[in-house]
Amino acid sequence: MSEIVRRDPRKEWIARNRLHPEHLDVLAELGEGAAPSEWPGPNGRIRRDPHAVGFTGPNGIKRIDRSGVQQGAGRSSAGDRGDGQPARQRVEIESPAFLVAVVPDLAGGRLSSHDRDLLGLARRLADADPQAPGAVVAIVFGEARESGFAEAGVDRLVTLDEPRLAGYAPEARIAALSAIEESLSPRHWLLPDSALGGGELGRRLAARLGERPAAGLWQIEPDAGSALGWHATCRGAAGSLDIRRDLPRVALALAECAEPVSETVHAARPLAPPALPEAFSRVEDLGAVAVDPASVALGEAEFILAAGNGIRDWEGYHRAATALGATEGASRVAVDDGFMPRDRQVGATGTWVTARVYVAVGISGAIQHLQGIQRCDKVVAVNVDPGCDMIKRADLAVIGDSAAILEALVTRVEQARQEDGGKRDAA
């Protein structure tokens, strides 16, 4: 069945107008009359069933909507996908006039917000001329866990999944990108100007291609006078200068350089990668180094185990932090009481943390503390009070005695570690 809902304004108007002579017929026709609330009785009297009026609301309470939305436009309004988001327009670009190559960072295998902004910028470049639209090619190293390339505005997807491109292999990656430059010859190369990843790869690519890139780009404007038809504004001199220049072929863009794609969905059709040349690598990746979590600065720690007023067994807490490999944090009360050093305080007066996982043990969640953990992705709360604010903020909350739960956590993790070690020995 077609997803397009045809509306009949006249029938909707009749459905809203309960005094209209055709009201009941129209209601039945629009699917609302399965159990009509009013009907003429055998003696010509109007009978009505008050229970058939209205509908059951989301909280289980019966609601009567007289605005006409429920009756006229049906239960789901036209173009609604059910989650409140308008449906996206599907765009297929069969024969693109040119290509815009984007190399997203894909931190953790997923598109970051920086990557999405960059793809939005690529769409602006590609869709500038509706008569001759370009296509956005995303070049992805390794297997991506991202499934939303189509929604992010990718027309073609090149996946370079070879073992020698894994890890830190900038020279092999540049050789691969040079091969793509030869086979596809895109008009634009766009990379995120991030510390590691796009910023480094883009500069290497520009040096290899002999282009002078626009680094720190944050704005583009159409400009018929320049070679590629665009004018770029870039940050220079440690962010103290704006450089206005013609947009070159290679651009390294900052976050929020453009709005991410929100109204269209694209094909994201896989494209066969070209044959990659053998690259002689002079940089050998010896792997990640185990870092003492206690030495990691609190502001950039990935995994924080934070302690608050509810902790009685501090030995057990430190043991748990060591066993989990977590960076230690604390609430203000724990610091004021002298159990933790001041540089470990999380919150408005301490450090604003950016951890991916924040485990709050015995912290009730004062507003100053919740401000400090605003940018954490996942929050786990362990507390005895089921009504505290930290439980409302948490993605997972365990109600119970913190000492017992930390003890069980240590046991469980050590058990998992032994199982893992056993598997590794067997392998």
Partner: protein
Amino acid sequence: MPHETTKNAAGALDVAVLVSVGRHPVTGRTRRADQDARAVEAALTLNKAHVRLIHAGRHETDSETALRGYLGMGFEGLTLIEQTRDADVLPALTSTLREAPPRLLLCGTRAETGEGSGLLPYLLAESLGWPIVTGLAEIERIEPEHVTLLQALPRGQRRRLRVRLPAVITVDEAAPAPRQSAFGPARRGRLVVSEQVSRPDAALAGWTLEPARPRPKRLKVVKAASARDRFKAAAAKAEGGGGQVLTDATPEQGAEAIVKLLQDEGVLRRLL
């Protein structure tokens, strides 16, 4: 007293550090650039290395004050390749480094003045044909043909790399902080001026440079099909509230749920 490493002993590793004139972010005064000073510090902490400093740029009063800041870290001299204001320093630097190639070339990631695109180390590496590694945290070991180093990753993580020499290594804020610049050695040190032809940077001359204006803040635009959805989005509280709450669970069940979340998020992977 000059640092031990500056004495040119036989068999010592020849390390060159490219230094630039920095700009204080608040006062705007010239100073030694922070990342370049960290690069000098990383070179000075090497065992058995002969470290020399190279700067390409103008020879003026304010830039000399900044360059003497590097000399105050324990150097007797600094090679100053004199260039005009509008010059592209890349050809001069390349030819200087070709004449006396060091085994290791250290520099900051981005300059604090000028274009500041951070491209120069890559162009140097490309033209010299050397490998380049960014984000140095620590140099661990130097062998005759290789250097083993730690590279700083986001979130305080480190990665060990083995790079073939000669190589270009860039330094950013993850490297150890530089030592103070002492006033006496800074005054006594010499700026050895070397003459090189200045090639004007034609592309830069065509650009407009202006003080950075603040970037517009991104507005939160709610796209919804109906007014009711827009109102709900506008009136929604910031907190999610969709979390899972385990009440009346044994500590073991609670620990199991927490470990599962930690494993899903991948933060337990470096346990061993």
